[in-house]
Protein backbone atom coordinates (compact mmCIF):
# COMPACT_ATOMS: atom_id res chain seq x y z
CA UNK A 1 0.00 0.00 0.00
CA UNK A 2 1.48 3.28 -1.07
CA UNK A 3 2.01 6.12 1.35
CA UNK A 4 -0.93 8.51 1.35
CA UNK A 5 -0.25 11.73 -0.49
CA UNK A 6 -2.83 13.70 1.40
CA UNK A 7 -4.29 12.70 4.72
CA UNK A 8 -7.10 14.62 6.34
CA UNK A 9 -7.46 13.72 10.02
CA UNK A 10 -10.50 14.73 12.04
CA UNK A 11 -10.80 18.14 10.44
CA UNK A 12 -13.07 20.73 12.05
CA UNK A 13 -13.95 24.02 10.39
CA UNK A 14 -16.50 26.43 11.78
CA UNK A 15 -18.13 29.69 10.75
CA UNK A 16 -19.39 32.30 13.16
CA UNK A 17 -22.81 33.56 12.15
CA UNK A 18 -25.58 35.59 13.72
CA UNK A 19 -27.52 32.43 14.47
CA UNK A 20 -24.60 30.69 16.11
CA UNK A 21 -21.51 28.71 15.23
CA UNK A 22 -21.94 26.69 12.05
CA UNK A 23 -19.98 23.44 12.17
CA UNK A 24 -19.40 23.21 8.45
CA UNK A 25 -16.79 20.47 8.73
CA UNK A 26 -17.33 18.32 11.79
CA UNK A 27 -14.65 15.68 12.10
CA UNK A 28 -13.82 14.71 8.53
CA UNK A 29 -11.08 12.17 7.83
CA UNK A 30 -9.96 10.60 4.59
CA UNK A 31 -6.87 9.73 2.57
CA UNK A 32 -5.75 10.37 -0.95
CA UNK A 33 -3.07 8.27 -2.62
CA UNK A 34 -0.83 9.54 -5.43
CA UNK A 35 -2.61 9.50 -8.76
CA UNK A 36 -5.89 8.45 -7.21
CA UNK A 37 -9.31 9.80 -8.10
CA UNK A 38 -11.51 10.44 -5.09
CA UNK A 39 -15.04 11.70 -5.14
CA UNK A 40 -16.67 13.67 -2.33
CA UNK A 41 -20.41 13.46 -2.61
CA UNK A 42 -23.25 15.06 -0.69
CA UNK A 43 -26.06 17.57 -0.80
CA UNK A 44 -25.61 21.32 -0.89
CA UNK A 45 -24.49 22.52 2.47
CA UNK A 46 -23.03 19.22 3.65
CA UNK A 47 -19.57 20.69 3.94
CA UNK A 48 -17.79 19.18 0.96
CA UNK A 49 -16.69 22.50 -0.52
CA UNK A 50 -15.59 23.83 2.84
CA UNK A 51 -13.54 20.69 3.34
CA UNK A 52 -11.73 21.31 0.07
CA UNK A 53 -11.24 24.99 0.87
CA UNK A 54 -9.91 24.04 4.29
CA UNK A 55 -7.34 21.77 2.74
CA UNK A 56 -6.15 24.73 0.69
CA UNK A 57 -6.51 27.02 3.70
CA UNK A 58 -8.90 29.20 1.73
CA UNK A 59 -11.73 28.70 4.18
CA UNK A 60 -11.94 32.33 5.36
CA UNK A 61 -14.04 33.68 6.99
CA UNK A 62 -14.30 30.22 8.48
CA UNK A 63 -11.76 28.94 10.96
CA UNK A 64 -10.05 25.60 11.17
CA UNK A 65 -10.45 24.69 14.79
CA UNK A 66 -9.23 21.14 14.92
CA UNK A 67 -7.62 18.26 13.10
CA UNK A 68 -4.72 17.93 10.68
CA UNK A 69 -4.16 18.01 6.97
CA UNK A 70 -1.02 16.02 6.28
CA UNK A 71 0.55 16.67 2.92
CA UNK A 72 4.04 15.48 2.03
CA UNK A 73 4.95 15.26 5.65
CA UNK A 74 3.64 18.69 6.65
CA UNK A 75 0.54 19.61 8.54
CA UNK A 76 -1.05 22.22 6.32
CA UNK A 77 -3.18 23.61 9.13
CA UNK A 78 -0.01 24.64 10.92
CA UNK A 79 2.30 25.96 8.20
CA UNK A 80 2.80 29.68 7.72
CA UNK A 81 0.82 31.60 5.17
CA UNK A 82 3.91 32.07 3.03
CA UNK A 83 4.59 28.35 3.02
CA UNK A 84 0.97 27.70 2.19
CA UNK A 85 1.10 30.11 -0.72
CA UNK A 86 4.03 28.21 -2.03
CA UNK A 87 1.98 25.04 -2.02
CA UNK A 88 -1.15 26.57 -3.47
CA UNK A 89 -1.10 26.68 -7.20
CA UNK A 90 2.14 24.76 -7.36
CA UNK A 91 1.64 21.46 -5.59
CA UNK A 92 -2.09 21.67 -5.03
CA UNK A 93 -4.44 23.31 -7.47
CA UNK A 94 -8.14 23.96 -7.22
CA UNK A 95 -10.71 24.66 -9.87
CA UNK A 96 -14.15 25.96 -9.16
CA UNK A 97 -17.71 25.62 -10.20
CA UNK A 98 -18.50 28.58 -12.39
CA UNK A 99 -15.79 29.22 -14.95
CA UNK A 100 -17.38 32.46 -16.08
CA UNK A 101 -16.96 34.15 -12.75
CA UNK A 102 -13.84 32.26 -11.74
CA UNK A 103 -11.65 33.82 -14.38
CA UNK A 104 -10.62 37.45 -14.19
CA UNK A 105 -12.51 39.29 -16.93
CA UNK A 106 -9.87 41.93 -17.60
CA UNK A 107 -6.84 39.74 -18.27
CA UNK A 108 -6.18 37.56 -21.26
CA UNK A 109 -6.62 33.85 -20.70
CA UNK A 110 -3.11 32.98 -21.78
CA UNK A 111 -1.74 35.44 -19.26
CA UNK A 112 -3.90 33.97 -16.50
CA UNK A 113 -2.98 30.40 -17.33
CA UNK A 114 0.69 31.34 -17.39
CA UNK A 115 0.53 33.18 -14.09
CA UNK A 116 1.27 30.24 -11.77
CA UNK A 117 4.40 29.55 -13.82
CA UNK A 118 5.59 33.11 -13.46
CA UNK A 119 4.77 33.11 -9.77
CA UNK A 120 6.04 29.73 -8.67
CA UNK A 121 8.71 28.84 -11.17
CA UNK A 122 9.91 32.40 -11.71
CA UNK A 123 9.78 32.06 -15.48
CA UNK A 124 9.67 35.14 -17.68
CA UNK A 125 6.44 35.95 -19.47
CA UNK A 126 7.47 34.56 -22.80
CA UNK A 127 8.54 31.19 -21.50
CA UNK A 128 5.51 30.95 -19.26
CA UNK A 129 3.13 31.89 -22.04
CA UNK A 130 4.58 29.31 -24.41
CA UNK A 131 4.09 26.63 -21.82
CA UNK A 132 0.58 27.89 -21.12
CA UNK A 133 -0.34 27.73 -24.79
CA UNK A 134 0.91 24.16 -24.89
CA UNK A 135 -1.25 23.28 -21.93
CA UNK A 136 -4.27 24.94 -23.50
CA UNK A 137 -3.74 22.76 -26.52
CA UNK A 138 -3.49 19.67 -24.39
CA UNK A 139 -6.80 20.34 -22.69
CA UNK A 140 -8.46 20.46 -26.05
CA UNK A 141 -8.63 24.13 -26.99
CA UNK A 142 -8.20 24.51 -30.72
CA UNK A 143 -5.89 27.22 -32.10
CA UNK A 144 -4.49 27.60 -28.65
CA UNK A 145 -1.94 30.22 -29.59
CA UNK A 146 -4.58 32.63 -30.88
CA UNK A 147 -7.08 31.76 -28.22
CA UNK A 148 -4.58 32.51 -25.52
CA UNK A 149 -4.87 36.15 -26.48
CA UNK A 150 -8.61 36.14 -25.96
CA UNK A 151 -10.46 37.18 -22.84
CA UNK A 152 -12.61 34.83 -20.75
CA UNK A 153 -15.89 36.23 -21.99
CA UNK A 154 -14.97 35.23 -25.52
CA UNK A 155 -15.05 31.54 -24.62
CA UNK A 156 -18.01 29.22 -24.24
CA UNK A 157 -18.73 27.65 -20.86
CA UNK A 158 -17.09 24.35 -21.63
CA UNK A 159 -14.03 25.99 -23.11
CA UNK A 160 -13.71 28.22 -20.07
CA UNK A 161 -13.68 25.21 -17.81
CA UNK A 162 -10.94 23.72 -19.94
CA UNK A 163 -9.00 26.93 -19.47
CA UNK A 164 -9.48 26.60 -15.70
CA UNK A 165 -8.20 23.04 -15.84
CA UNK A 166 -5.20 24.11 -17.90
CA UNK A 167 -4.55 26.84 -15.36
CA UNK A 168 -4.57 24.34 -12.55
CA UNK A 169 -2.23 21.94 -14.27
CA UNK A 170 0.50 24.22 -15.61
CA UNK A 171 2.72 23.50 -12.65
CA UNK A 172 1.92 19.77 -12.70
CA UNK A 173 0.63 19.71 -9.14
CA UNK A 174 0.41 16.55 -7.14
CA UNK A 175 -3.22 17.18 -6.24
CA UNK A 176 -6.03 18.74 -8.23
CA UNK A 177 -9.22 19.59 -6.39
CA UNK A 178 -12.23 20.14 -8.63
CA UNK A 179 -15.19 21.71 -6.85
CA UNK A 180 -18.34 20.96 -8.83
CA UNK A 181 -16.53 21.44 -12.13
CA UNK A 182 -19.45 20.42 -14.28
CA UNK A 183 -22.43 21.73 -12.36
CA UNK A 184 -22.63 24.99 -14.27
CA UNK A 185 -22.32 23.32 -17.67
CA UNK A 186 -24.68 21.72 -20.15
CA UNK A 187 -25.04 17.98 -19.88
CA UNK A 188 -23.23 17.26 -23.13
CA UNK A 189 -20.33 19.50 -22.16
CA UNK A 190 -20.26 17.86 -18.75
CA UNK A 191 -19.32 14.57 -20.32
CA UNK A 192 -16.49 16.21 -22.24
CA UNK A 193 -15.06 17.86 -19.17
CA UNK A 194 -15.21 14.64 -17.20
CA UNK A 195 -13.40 12.93 -20.05
CA UNK A 196 -10.78 15.58 -19.86
CA UNK A 197 -10.36 15.15 -16.13
CA UNK A 198 -9.98 11.43 -16.53
CA UNK A 199 -7.48 11.92 -19.28
CA UNK A 200 -5.52 14.41 -17.25
CA UNK A 201 -5.45 12.09 -14.30
CA UNK A 202 -4.01 9.29 -16.41
CA UNK A 203 -1.56 11.35 -18.34
CA UNK A 204 -0.19 13.59 -15.60
CA UNK A 205 -0.70 11.28 -12.68
CA UNK A 206 -2.38 14.07 -10.75
CA UNK A 207 -4.37 12.87 -7.78
CA UNK A 208 -7.84 14.33 -8.22
CA UNK A 209 -10.50 15.12 -5.67
CA UNK A 210 -13.82 15.60 -7.39
CA UNK A 211 -16.51 17.30 -5.38
CA UNK A 212 -20.06 16.99 -6.57
CA UNK A 213 -23.65 16.37 -5.58
CA UNK A 214 -24.18 14.31 -8.70
CA UNK A 215 -23.78 10.57 -8.15
CA UNK A 216 -23.56 9.92 -11.86
CA UNK A 217 -20.48 12.10 -12.16
CA UNK A 218 -18.79 10.21 -9.37
CA UNK A 219 -19.64 6.87 -10.87
CA UNK A 220 -18.01 7.81 -14.14
CA UNK A 221 -14.89 9.29 -12.76
CA UNK A 222 -13.78 8.29 -9.29
CA UNK A 223 -12.21 5.07 -8.06
CA UNK A 224 -13.09 5.86 -4.50
CA UNK A 225 -15.80 7.96 -2.98
CA UNK A 226 -16.66 9.45 0.38
CA UNK A 227 -20.18 10.49 1.23
CA UNK A 228 -20.72 13.49 3.45
CA UNK A 229 -23.72 14.54 5.45
CA UNK A 230 -24.05 17.51 7.80
CA UNK A 231 -20.33 18.12 7.90
CA UNK A 232 -19.38 14.52 8.61
CA UNK A 233 -18.22 11.59 6.54
CA UNK A 234 -20.88 8.92 6.69
CA UNK A 235 -19.50 6.41 4.24
CA UNK A 236 -16.30 5.77 2.32
CA UNK A 237 -15.06 3.10 -0.04
CA UNK A 238 -14.48 2.03 -3.65
CA UNK A 239 -17.15 3.63 -5.81
CA UNK A 240 -18.36 0.39 -7.31
CA UNK A 241 -18.83 -1.19 -3.90
CA UNK A 242 -20.50 1.80 -2.36
CA UNK A 243 -22.96 2.08 -5.21
CA UNK A 244 -23.62 -1.62 -5.41
CA UNK A 245 -24.15 -2.18 -1.71
CA UNK A 246 -24.23 1.04 0.29
CA UNK A 247 -23.48 0.61 3.96
CA UNK A 248 -25.06 3.79 5.23
CA UNK A 249 -28.78 4.62 5.21
CA UNK A 250 -28.10 8.04 3.73
CA UNK A 251 -26.18 6.66 0.76
CA UNK A 252 -28.77 3.96 0.46
CA UNK A 253 -31.61 6.52 0.36
CA UNK A 254 -29.70 8.71 -2.09
CA UNK A 255 -29.26 5.85 -4.48
CA UNK A 256 -32.92 5.01 -4.31
CA UNK A 257 -33.95 8.57 -5.04
CA UNK A 258 -32.27 8.84 -8.42
CA UNK A 259 -33.70 7.37 -11.59
CA UNK A 260 -31.85 4.27 -12.81
CA UNK A 261 -31.92 2.41 -16.06
CA UNK A 262 -32.11 -0.93 -14.31
CA UNK A 263 -35.04 -0.08 -12.07
CA UNK A 264 -38.49 -1.53 -12.51
CA UNK A 265 -40.50 0.59 -14.86
CA UNK A 266 -43.29 1.50 -12.52
CA UNK A 267 -41.28 1.90 -9.36
CA UNK A 268 -41.69 5.43 -8.01
CA UNK A 269 -38.63 7.41 -6.98
CA UNK A 270 -38.27 7.60 -3.26
CA UNK A 271 -37.11 10.99 -2.08
CA UNK A 272 -35.56 11.19 1.34
CA UNK A 273 -38.07 12.42 3.85
CA UNK A 274 -37.47 15.46 5.95
CA UNK A 275 -34.99 18.27 5.53
CA UNK A 276 -31.23 18.53 5.97
CA UNK A 277 -30.41 19.64 9.48
CA UNK A 278 -29.33 23.10 10.53
CA UNK A 279 -25.57 23.14 10.94
CA UNK A 280 -25.96 25.43 13.91
CA UNK A 281 -28.23 23.07 15.71
CA UNK A 282 -27.32 19.50 14.81
CA UNK A 283 -29.45 16.65 16.01
CA UNK A 284 -28.04 14.64 18.90
CA UNK A 285 -26.20 11.45 18.05
CA UNK A 286 -26.20 10.58 14.35
CA UNK A 287 -27.03 13.63 12.28
CA UNK A 288 -29.13 11.60 9.89
CA UNK A 289 -31.27 9.78 12.42
CA UNK A 290 -34.38 12.00 12.16
CA UNK A 291 -34.74 11.00 8.53
CA UNK A 292 -33.47 7.44 8.79
CA UNK A 293 -35.67 4.48 8.07
CA UNK A 294 -33.42 2.11 9.98
CA UNK A 295 -32.77 3.97 13.14
CA UNK A 296 -32.55 2.36 16.52
CA UNK A 297 -32.49 3.85 19.96
CA UNK A 298 -28.73 4.31 20.09
CA UNK A 299 -28.77 6.51 16.98
CA UNK A 300 -30.25 9.47 18.76
CA UNK A 301 -27.77 9.23 21.61
CA UNK A 302 -24.28 8.52 20.32
CA UNK A 303 -22.46 9.93 17.29
CA UNK A 304 -21.38 6.91 15.26
CA UNK A 305 -17.68 6.64 14.40
CA UNK A 306 -16.47 5.78 10.92
CA UNK A 307 -15.68 2.04 11.09
CA UNK A 308 -15.09 -0.70 8.55
CA UNK A 309 -18.28 -2.41 7.45
CA UNK A 310 -17.92 -5.15 4.91
CA UNK A 311 -14.63 -5.83 3.15
CA UNK A 312 -13.79 -2.54 1.57
CA UNK A 313 -16.11 0.11 2.96
CA UNK A 314 -16.26 2.36 5.98
CA UNK A 315 -19.54 3.53 7.42
CA UNK A 316 -20.58 5.71 10.33
CA UNK A 317 -23.75 3.89 11.25
CA UNK A 318 -24.62 1.92 14.38
CA UNK A 319 -27.09 -0.17 12.49
CA UNK A 320 -24.83 -1.41 9.74
CA UNK A 321 -21.88 -1.72 12.04
CA UNK A 322 -23.99 -4.13 14.02
CA UNK A 323 -24.35 -6.23 10.90
CA UNK A 324 -27.81 -5.28 9.61
CA UNK A 325 -28.23 -5.32 5.85
CA UNK A 326 -29.95 -2.34 4.29
CA UNK A 327 -33.06 -3.46 2.44
CA UNK A 328 -36.36 -1.84 2.28
CA UNK A 329 -39.69 -1.26 0.69
Amino acid sequence: MTQALLEVQDLHTVFATKEGTVKAVDGVSFELSPGETLGIVGESGCGKSVTALSIMRLQRPGKIVGGKVMFKGQDLTKVTEDEMRDIRGREMAMIFQDPMTSLNPVFRTGWQVAEPLRLHHGWDSKKALTSAVQMLGRVGIPSAAERARDYPHQFSGGMRQRVMIAMGLTTTPAVLIADEPTTALDVTIQAQILDLLRHVNREFGTATILITHNLGVVAGMCKRVIVMYAGRVVEAGPTMDVFAHPKHPYTWSLLRSIPRLDAERHEPLKPIEGLPPSLVDLPSGCAFHPRCAFKVERCSRDVPALEPVGDTQLSACWVTQAGTELKGA
Binding site: E19, G20, V22, L275, P276, S278, L279, D281
Partner: protein, 307 residues
Protein backbone atom coordinates in the same frame (compact mmCIF):
# COMPACT_ATOMS: atom_id res chain seq x y z
CA UNK B 1 -40.30 41.00 -2.51
CA UNK B 2 -43.68 40.24 -1.14
CA UNK B 3 -44.87 43.78 -0.97
CA UNK B 4 -47.52 44.93 1.36
CA UNK B 5 -49.62 41.82 1.36
CA UNK B 6 -50.15 40.20 4.70
CA UNK B 7 -47.99 37.13 4.41
CA UNK B 8 -46.88 37.50 7.96
CA UNK B 9 -48.26 34.18 9.05
CA UNK B 10 -46.73 32.05 6.29
CA UNK B 11 -44.23 29.52 7.52
CA UNK B 12 -41.61 29.10 4.87
CA UNK B 13 -40.22 25.58 4.73
CA UNK B 14 -36.60 25.18 3.69
CA UNK B 15 -35.58 28.07 5.84
CA UNK B 16 -34.18 25.43 8.12
CA UNK B 17 -31.33 24.72 5.75
CA UNK B 18 -29.52 27.90 6.56
CA UNK B 19 -29.91 27.41 10.26
CA UNK B 20 -32.45 30.21 10.55
CA UNK B 21 -35.39 29.54 12.79
CA UNK B 22 -38.74 29.21 11.15
CA UNK B 23 -40.09 32.59 12.26
CA UNK B 24 -42.99 33.83 10.26
CA UNK B 25 -41.89 36.23 7.54
CA UNK B 26 -42.83 39.81 8.38
CA UNK B 27 -44.02 42.14 5.72
CA UNK B 28 -41.24 44.00 4.03
CA UNK B 29 -42.33 47.35 5.41
CA UNK B 30 -42.44 46.15 8.99
CA UNK B 31 -39.00 44.64 8.71
CA UNK B 32 -37.59 47.79 7.22
CA UNK B 33 -39.15 49.91 9.92
CA UNK B 34 -37.64 47.63 12.55
CA UNK B 35 -34.22 47.96 11.01
CA UNK B 36 -34.57 51.71 10.82
CA UNK B 37 -35.60 51.96 14.43
CA UNK B 38 -32.58 49.95 15.46
CA UNK B 39 -30.31 52.48 13.81
CA UNK B 40 -30.04 55.02 16.57
CA UNK B 41 -27.90 57.55 14.80
CA UNK B 42 -30.17 57.46 11.79
CA UNK B 43 -33.24 57.95 13.93
CA UNK B 44 -31.58 60.82 15.76
CA UNK B 45 -30.87 62.48 12.43
CA UNK B 46 -34.44 62.03 11.37
CA UNK B 47 -35.71 63.52 14.59
CA UNK B 48 -33.38 66.47 14.13
CA UNK B 49 -34.81 67.19 10.71
CA UNK B 50 -38.32 67.07 12.04
CA UNK B 51 -37.37 69.41 14.85
CA UNK B 52 -35.76 71.84 12.44
CA UNK B 53 -38.80 71.74 10.22
CA UNK B 54 -41.07 72.40 13.17
CA UNK B 55 -38.98 75.32 14.30
CA UNK B 56 -39.06 76.71 10.80
CA UNK B 57 -42.81 76.36 10.58
CA UNK B 58 -43.25 77.98 13.94
CA UNK B 59 -40.86 80.79 13.08
CA UNK B 60 -43.16 83.67 14.00
CA UNK B 61 -43.82 82.00 17.31
CA UNK B 62 -40.15 81.71 17.96
CA UNK B 63 -39.32 85.23 17.10
CA UNK B 64 -42.11 86.39 19.32
CA UNK B 65 -41.51 84.18 22.31
CA UNK B 66 -37.86 83.25 22.27
CA UNK B 67 -35.72 85.75 20.47
CA UNK B 68 -37.98 88.76 20.59
CA UNK B 69 -36.71 90.00 17.25
CA UNK B 70 -38.06 90.18 13.75
CA UNK B 71 -35.87 89.01 10.89
CA UNK B 72 -36.04 92.27 9.03
CA UNK B 73 -35.75 94.64 11.94
CA UNK B 74 -32.87 96.96 11.34
CA UNK B 75 -31.03 98.32 14.32
CA UNK B 76 -28.20 100.48 13.16
CA UNK B 77 -27.07 101.03 16.69
CA UNK B 78 -26.24 97.41 17.19
CA UNK B 79 -24.50 96.41 13.99
CA UNK B 80 -22.02 93.57 14.17
CA UNK B 81 -22.80 92.82 17.75
CA UNK B 82 -20.84 89.92 19.15
CA UNK B 83 -22.74 86.83 20.26
CA UNK B 84 -23.97 87.54 23.72
CA UNK B 85 -26.93 88.00 25.95
CA UNK B 86 -28.80 90.52 23.87
CA UNK B 87 -28.37 88.76 20.56
CA UNK B 88 -27.61 85.12 21.06
CA UNK B 89 -25.60 84.77 17.91
CA UNK B 90 -24.84 88.38 17.22
CA UNK B 91 -26.12 90.71 14.53
CA UNK B 92 -25.21 91.51 10.97
CA UNK B 93 -24.28 94.73 9.22
CA UNK B 94 -27.74 96.12 9.61
CA UNK B 95 -28.15 95.08 13.20
CA UNK B 96 -30.52 92.28 12.38
CA UNK B 97 -30.57 89.42 14.85
CA UNK B 98 -28.78 86.33 13.57
CA UNK B 99 -30.82 83.72 15.38
CA UNK B 100 -34.10 85.06 14.13
CA UNK B 101 -32.77 85.31 10.62
CA UNK B 102 -31.52 81.77 10.80
CA UNK B 103 -34.93 80.55 11.86
CA UNK B 104 -36.75 82.47 9.17
CA UNK B 105 -34.06 81.53 6.73
CA UNK B 106 -34.73 77.95 7.61
CA UNK B 107 -38.29 78.48 6.64
CA UNK B 108 -37.29 79.61 3.20
CA UNK B 109 -34.54 77.08 2.65
CA UNK B 110 -36.41 74.09 4.00
CA UNK B 111 -39.55 75.21 2.27
CA UNK B 112 -37.82 75.41 -1.07
CA UNK B 113 -36.10 72.09 -0.44
CA UNK B 114 -39.25 70.18 0.41
CA UNK B 115 -41.21 71.72 -2.41
CA UNK B 116 -38.45 70.94 -4.87
CA UNK B 117 -38.25 67.36 -3.69
CA UNK B 118 -41.99 66.99 -3.98
CA UNK B 119 -42.05 68.25 -7.54
CA UNK B 120 -38.94 66.33 -8.59
CA UNK B 121 -40.26 63.10 -7.17
CA UNK B 122 -43.64 63.43 -8.73
CA UNK B 123 -42.42 64.30 -12.18
CA UNK B 124 -39.44 61.97 -12.00
CA UNK B 125 -41.45 59.02 -10.77
CA UNK B 126 -44.07 59.58 -13.40
CA UNK B 127 -41.57 59.74 -16.21
CA UNK B 128 -39.55 56.84 -14.84
CA UNK B 129 -42.55 54.59 -14.52
CA UNK B 130 -43.82 55.37 -17.97
CA UNK B 131 -40.40 54.82 -19.49
CA UNK B 132 -39.75 51.63 -17.59
CA UNK B 133 -43.18 50.17 -18.00
CA UNK B 134 -43.79 50.83 -21.66
CA UNK B 135 -40.24 50.54 -22.88
CA UNK B 136 -39.64 50.84 -26.59
CA UNK B 137 -39.57 54.20 -28.27
CA UNK B 138 -41.24 55.99 -25.38
CA UNK B 139 -38.47 54.81 -23.12
CA UNK B 140 -35.85 55.97 -25.60
CA UNK B 141 -37.32 59.41 -26.00
CA UNK B 142 -37.87 59.97 -22.32
CA UNK B 143 -34.42 58.80 -21.39
CA UNK B 144 -32.79 60.95 -24.05
CA UNK B 145 -34.71 63.84 -22.56
CA UNK B 146 -33.36 62.95 -19.14
CA UNK B 147 -29.83 62.69 -20.50
CA UNK B 148 -30.20 66.10 -22.06
CA UNK B 149 -31.52 67.76 -18.96
CA UNK B 150 -28.84 66.20 -16.81
CA UNK B 151 -26.03 67.14 -19.16
CA UNK B 152 -26.38 70.84 -18.57
CA UNK B 153 -24.34 71.93 -15.58
CA UNK B 154 -27.08 72.80 -13.16
CA UNK B 155 -25.82 76.02 -11.70
CA UNK B 156 -25.36 77.55 -15.13
CA UNK B 157 -28.92 76.70 -15.99
CA UNK B 158 -30.19 78.07 -12.72
CA UNK B 159 -28.31 81.30 -13.21
CA UNK B 160 -29.81 81.55 -16.64
CA UNK B 161 -33.30 80.96 -15.36
CA UNK B 162 -32.95 83.36 -12.51
CA UNK B 163 -32.41 86.11 -15.03
CA UNK B 164 -35.60 85.19 -16.75
CA UNK B 165 -37.82 84.50 -13.82
CA UNK B 166 -38.04 86.46 -10.64
CA UNK B 167 -36.62 84.22 -7.96
CA UNK B 168 -39.29 83.72 -5.38
CA UNK B 169 -39.19 80.64 -3.17
CA UNK B 170 -41.74 78.92 -5.36
CA UNK B 171 -40.12 79.79 -8.66
CA UNK B 172 -36.76 78.82 -7.22
CA UNK B 173 -38.13 75.45 -6.22
CA UNK B 174 -39.50 74.92 -9.69
CA UNK B 175 -36.24 75.99 -11.28
CA UNK B 176 -34.23 73.53 -9.21
CA UNK B 177 -36.79 70.80 -9.73
CA UNK B 178 -36.59 71.29 -13.49
CA UNK B 179 -33.26 69.48 -13.35
CA UNK B 180 -33.76 67.37 -10.25
CA UNK B 181 -36.43 65.16 -11.68
CA UNK B 182 -33.91 63.64 -14.06
CA UNK B 183 -32.03 61.54 -11.55
CA UNK B 184 -35.26 60.40 -9.95
CA UNK B 185 -36.58 59.34 -13.33
CA UNK B 186 -33.51 57.24 -13.94
CA UNK B 187 -33.72 55.62 -10.53
CA UNK B 188 -37.38 54.82 -10.83
CA UNK B 189 -36.99 53.46 -14.32
CA UNK B 190 -34.26 51.15 -13.08
CA UNK B 191 -36.46 49.86 -10.30
CA UNK B 192 -39.39 49.39 -12.63
CA UNK B 193 -37.26 47.45 -15.07
CA UNK B 194 -36.08 45.08 -12.39
CA UNK B 195 -39.53 44.64 -10.89
CA UNK B 196 -41.07 44.15 -14.29
CA UNK B 197 -39.18 40.94 -14.73
CA UNK B 198 -40.57 39.36 -11.64
CA UNK B 199 -43.11 36.69 -11.93
CA UNK B 200 -45.90 38.31 -10.05
CA UNK B 201 -46.10 41.03 -12.66
CA UNK B 202 -46.51 38.47 -15.38
CA UNK B 203 -49.10 36.71 -13.31
CA UNK B 204 -51.09 39.84 -12.70
CA UNK B 205 -50.88 40.75 -16.35
CA UNK B 206 -52.14 37.37 -17.36
CA UNK B 207 -55.33 37.95 -15.48
CA UNK B 208 -55.92 41.02 -17.57
CA UNK B 209 -55.10 43.90 -15.27
CA UNK B 210 -55.09 47.28 -16.99
CA UNK B 211 -51.93 49.31 -17.38
CA UNK B 212 -52.69 52.09 -14.98
CA UNK B 213 -53.80 49.64 -12.35
CA UNK B 214 -50.58 47.71 -12.86
CA UNK B 215 -48.51 50.79 -12.41
CA UNK B 216 -50.22 52.23 -9.43
CA UNK B 217 -51.14 49.20 -7.42
CA UNK B 218 -48.27 46.90 -8.20
CA UNK B 219 -45.24 48.81 -9.42
CA UNK B 220 -45.57 51.85 -7.25
CA UNK B 221 -45.33 50.10 -3.87
CA UNK B 222 -42.16 48.41 -5.02
CA UNK B 223 -40.71 51.63 -6.30
CA UNK B 224 -41.59 53.53 -3.13
CA UNK B 225 -38.47 52.57 -1.14
CA UNK B 226 -36.24 54.03 -3.83
CA UNK B 227 -38.30 57.20 -3.86
CA UNK B 228 -38.16 57.59 -0.12
CA UNK B 229 -34.40 57.22 -0.10
CA UNK B 230 -34.06 59.65 -3.00
CA UNK B 231 -36.27 62.15 -1.21
CA UNK B 232 -34.30 62.05 1.97
CA UNK B 233 -30.93 62.34 0.30
CA UNK B 234 -32.29 64.87 -2.15
CA UNK B 235 -33.33 67.32 0.53
CA UNK B 236 -29.71 67.67 1.56
CA UNK B 237 -28.41 68.18 -1.93
CA UNK B 238 -31.06 70.72 -2.76
CA UNK B 239 -30.36 72.73 0.35
CA UNK B 240 -26.75 72.97 -0.80
CA UNK B 241 -27.72 74.07 -4.28
CA UNK B 242 -30.24 76.57 -3.06
CA UNK B 243 -27.80 78.00 -0.57
CA UNK B 244 -25.20 78.38 -3.29
CA UNK B 245 -27.63 80.22 -5.52
CA UNK B 246 -28.67 82.52 -2.72
CA UNK B 247 -25.06 83.12 -1.85
CA UNK B 248 -24.36 84.16 -5.40
CA UNK B 249 -27.15 86.64 -5.13
CA UNK B 250 -29.17 84.91 -7.79
CA UNK B 251 -31.67 83.21 -5.57
CA UNK B 252 -33.70 84.54 -2.72
CA UNK B 253 -33.02 88.22 -2.55
CA UNK B 254 -32.38 90.17 0.61
CA UNK B 255 -33.93 91.44 2.76
CA UNK B 256 -35.67 88.07 2.92
CA UNK B 257 -33.33 85.95 4.96
CA UNK B 258 -32.03 82.63 3.73
CA UNK B 259 -29.04 80.70 4.95
CA UNK B 260 -27.28 81.25 1.68
CA UNK B 261 -27.77 84.95 1.28
CA UNK B 262 -26.69 85.58 4.85
CA UNK B 263 -23.28 84.65 3.54
CA UNK B 264 -23.27 86.75 0.39
CA UNK B 265 -21.17 89.49 1.83
CA UNK B 266 -19.23 87.22 4.12
CA UNK B 267 -15.90 88.22 2.72
CA UNK B 268 -16.37 91.67 4.07
CA UNK B 269 -17.23 90.37 7.54
CA UNK B 270 -14.18 88.20 7.92
CA UNK B 271 -11.96 90.57 9.71
CA UNK B 272 -14.17 91.69 12.48
CA UNK B 273 -17.20 89.46 12.72
CA UNK B 274 -16.19 86.07 11.52
CA UNK B 275 -19.02 84.43 13.48
CA UNK B 276 -21.39 85.75 10.87
CA UNK B 277 -19.61 83.47 8.45
CA UNK B 278 -19.61 80.53 10.82
CA UNK B 279 -23.20 80.32 11.97
CA UNK B 280 -25.15 80.14 8.74
CA UNK B 281 -22.61 77.73 7.29
CA UNK B 282 -22.74 75.46 10.31
CA UNK B 283 -26.51 75.51 10.18
CA UNK B 284 -26.47 74.42 6.58
CA UNK B 285 -23.91 71.78 7.36
CA UNK B 286 -25.83 70.29 10.24
CA UNK B 287 -29.09 70.21 8.35
CA UNK B 288 -27.60 68.61 5.27
CA UNK B 289 -25.64 66.18 7.41
CA UNK B 290 -28.78 65.11 9.21
CA UNK B 291 -30.59 64.68 5.93
CA UNK B 292 -27.77 62.58 4.51
CA UNK B 293 -27.45 60.40 7.58
CA UNK B 294 -31.17 59.85 7.69
CA UNK B 295 -31.24 59.09 3.98
CA UNK B 296 -28.48 56.53 4.39
CA UNK B 297 -30.25 55.02 7.36
CA UNK B 298 -33.42 54.62 5.34
CA UNK B 299 -31.51 53.06 2.50
CA UNK B 300 -29.83 50.60 4.85
CA UNK B 301 -33.16 49.80 6.41
CA UNK B 302 -34.75 48.97 3.10
CA UNK B 303 -31.83 47.03 1.71
CA UNK B 304 -29.29 45.94 4.30
CA UNK B 305 -27.34 43.95 1.76
CA UNK B 306 -25.93 47.12 0.32
CA UNK B 307 -23.85 47.71 3.42
Amino acid sequence: MIGQSRVAELELPGAAVEGASTRPAQSYWNESWERLRANRIGMAAGVLIVVLALIAIAAPLFSLAVTHFQPQTIDLGATFAKPGSAHLLGTDELGRDTVTRLIYGGRVTLGVAFLTVAVSLTVGAGVGMLAGYYGGWLDDILMRLVDTVLAIPAIFLFILMSILFRPTPISLALIIASVGWGNVARLVRGEVLSVKQRDFILATRSIGARDVRMMVRHLLPNVLPVLIVAASLGVGQIILIEAALDFLGLGIQPPTASWGNMLTNAESYFFHSFWLVIFPGVTIFITVLASNIFGNAIRDAFDPRLK
